[in-house]
Symmetry: C2
Subunit: 84 residues, 2 copies
Amino acid sequence: MRAMKARVYVSFKPSVLDPQGQTIHHALNGLGHAEIEDVRQGKYFEITMRGATDRERARQELDQIARDVLSNPVIEDYRIEVLE
Amino acid sequence: MRAMKARVYVSFKPSVLDPQGQTIHHALNGLGHAEIEDVRQGKYFEITMRGATDRERARQELDQIARDVLSNPVIEDYRIEVLE
């Protein structure tokens, strides 16, 4: 049975402040990386699905998982990438 | 002055346990997503560089930043993607 791999990327919406990214940004400037203008931090999930043969169905299921479990739609956006 | 965007992806090495990913994996199975076989969590950084015109130099700088600041090379791998 074939396994399908996918990645879900979750990041803050552009309007939401990202204090962790800002801290890293200032730390990098302080370390001499003066050309760093902005840092935003996000998270991603590498998901293996067993016996998923229909890419379209897999994508729909991942969309539901990303919306309901992996992200908070009020403050976060997500992006899905089906790999193989 | 042009800005260059890049992403740095940091994930646990395959040999390192990922309890957060495992918790999400079991939660998804419990919610009825039976075909989910594995979940690994990672983080990523979206970085804007000011006045970076030389992609190769930018990549070298990002490599240093990823190794020294954004990841722990003992337990984590990283991957760099220069976008534009």
